[in-house]
Symmetry: C3
Subunit: 220 residues, 3 copies
Amino acid sequence: MEFAGKFPLLFGADMLAAVAFAVTGALVASRKGLDILGFMWLAILTGVGGGTLRDLVLDVPVFWVVEPAHVVACLLTAVVMFYVAPKVESRYRLVLWFDALGLAFVTVAGTVKGLDHGAGPLIAVVMGVVTASFGGIVRDVVGNEQSVILRREIYVLAALLGGSTYVILSTLVLDRIEAAVCAFVVTFVVRGLAIVFGWSMPSYYREPRPIDDPTRRDRK
Amino acid sequence: MEFAGKFPLLFGADMLAAVAFAVTGALVASRKGLDILGFMWLAILTGVGGGTLRDLVLDVPVFWVVEPAHVVACLLTAVVMFYVAPKVESRYRLVLWFDALGLAFVTVAGTVKGLDHGAGPLIAVVMGVVTASFGGIVRDVVGNEQSVILRREIYVLAALLGGSTYVILSTLVLDRIEAAVCAFVVTFVVRGLAIVFGWSMPSYYREPRPIDDPTRRDRK
Amino acid sequence: MEFAGKFPLLFGADMLAAVAFAVTGALVASRKGLDILGFMWLAILTGVGGGTLRDLVLDVPVFWVVEPAHVVACLLTAVVMFYVAPKVESRYRLVLWFDALGLAFVTVAGTVKGLDHGAGPLIAVVMGVVTASFGGIVRDVVGNEQSVILRREIYVLAALLGGSTYVILSTLVLDRIEAAVCAFVVTFVVRGLAIVFGWSMPSYYREPRPIDDPTRRDRK
C-alpha cells in the first residue's frame, strides 16, 4: 500500500473510477453475450484504461502495476456483474450513470496527478479530460458501440469543468481533498443533468451528404 | 543482441510471437486487398503491438527498439505473405491458428517479463493475458474485423491458464525455460481445442433488443 | 521552451504536424456534427496522437507535456475550424490534403527523433512511418471513418520514402535541417501526387467472398 500511502486521494479516486468503469465494461460485455472472462477482460480494459494512459504520458509507474488492488477490484466487479448484469442489461441508462461516475473520478485523478507531477494547469486539465474519456472510448471501440465522444450530449464539458474546478480551487483556496471533492461533484452533476435532460451543446451539424471522395473504395 | 543475450527466452518468445501475429496481420491485409506496404504496416502493428504495450506498462525499453530483429522478421513475413496469402486467404481458419500460436507466445512472454520486472503473480498473469490479446484486438479494430474478444469461444481462458501455468511451475518446481514451454503448450492446446471443437464458455447471453437510449443519435 | 530550444527542428515539425492533423480531426468532428468540445477533443487526439506514441515508445518525455504550446495550437485550430468547417466540410479532399501535410511533418519528426535517441536507421524509419499514420488511424477509428490505412492509394509509401530520405541525406551529406526539409518535400509530394492522380500500388486483391468461419457469430 506504499503507493496508496503516498497518494491516498489518488488511490481512492483510481479505485472508485476502476470499479465504476468496470461496471460499464461488464454491462457492455453482457450486451455482447460474452463469457465471464470476456466480462473480466472488458472490465479491466475499461476500468484501468484511462489511468494507464495518464501514467504512461506522465512517465510514472502505471498505478495498477504498483498496486494490484485496482485490478482485483475490476475482476470482482466483473464476477458480480456477470450474475447481476442479465437482470439489468436492458437498462442502458445504467451504463450511462456508472460511466458518469467513472468520468468524474478519472477527471479528478487525472487532473490531480497531472498537477502533482509538474504539468501546468492547462495540461493537467487536458490530462483529466482525455484520460476520463479514454476508458470509455476503448470500451466502445472494442465493444463495437458508438464512441461516447460521438454523442452530441454534454460529456467532455463535464470533465472540463470538473478539472478546471480542481485547478482553481486547489491553487487558490482549498486543500487538495476538498478541491477534489468539489471537482468530482461538479463533473458528476453536470454530466448527470445532461443525462437526465438530454442536454447538448450547439453544433453546426449538417446532414452528411454523399462525400465526393474518389479515393474511397470501401471494401467492407 | 545484448537484449537477446540477457533474455534469450524472452527474445525467442517475442520473435516467434511477432512472426505468428505478423502472419495474421498480413492475412487480414490480404483480405482487405491492401498493397505490400499495407501488409507490412498491419504485420508490424499486430506482430509487435502486444509486446509494445507490455513494455510500456512495465516501463522498460520497448523490445523492438532495443532489438530491431523483430521488426525485420515482421517485414519479411509481410513480404512472403504478400505472395502467399492470395492462395490461402479464403482459409480464414489459418488466421485462427497463427493467432493461436501468437497468443501462446505472447502469453508466455508477457507473464515471464512481468514476473522478471517485479510484478506480482496476479499482475504478471493479467499482463500476459492483456498483451496476448492486444495485438489481435488492434489488428481487428484497424482492419474492421470483429474484435477477437467479442467471439464467444474460449480465447482469454487459454491465455489465463497458460499464464497461471508459468507462474505456478516457475515458482514451485521447474526452471523458467521448462515452465515457459509448459505454459506455451497449455495455452496453444487449450486454444487449439477450442478452435477445433468450437468450445465456448457459458454466458448469460440474451438477444439484444432495441436499447432505450434517448442520447443515442447515430449519424453514420 | 527548454524543449523547443534543444530541438527547434523537432519543435517546429511537431507544431506544424499538430496543427495540420488538428484540422483533419476538426473536419471529421464537423462531419459528425459534434459540439466545439468534440472538435477540441478530436483535434488534440489527432494532433498529438502520433507524436505521443513516438515519445512513449522512445521512452522520452511526451512532447506536449513538456511544451504545452502544441496543445494550445490544437485547441485554437479546433475553435477556428468550428466556425470554418461547416463551410468546407463537404470538401472531403481538404481532409486528405491536411492529412498529407501532417503525414509529412510527423514522418520527419518521427525519423529525426528516432535517430536522435539512438534508434538504428530501420527503426527510425519505422518510427516515422508508424507514428505518421497513427494519428490518422486513431481519428478514423474513433470517428467511425474507414481507417486511412485500408485505402489502397499510396500513403505508407510516402512516409517510407520521406523517412528514408532523411536517414540517407542526414548521414551522408546534408545537415539535419536540410535533410528534414528534403524528407518533408518527398513525403508531401509523393502523397500529394497520389491524391491528385489516385495513384495506388498493385495488390493481389480478390473480391471478399463469404468467409468460412464457424467461430464467427456476430452479435451486433
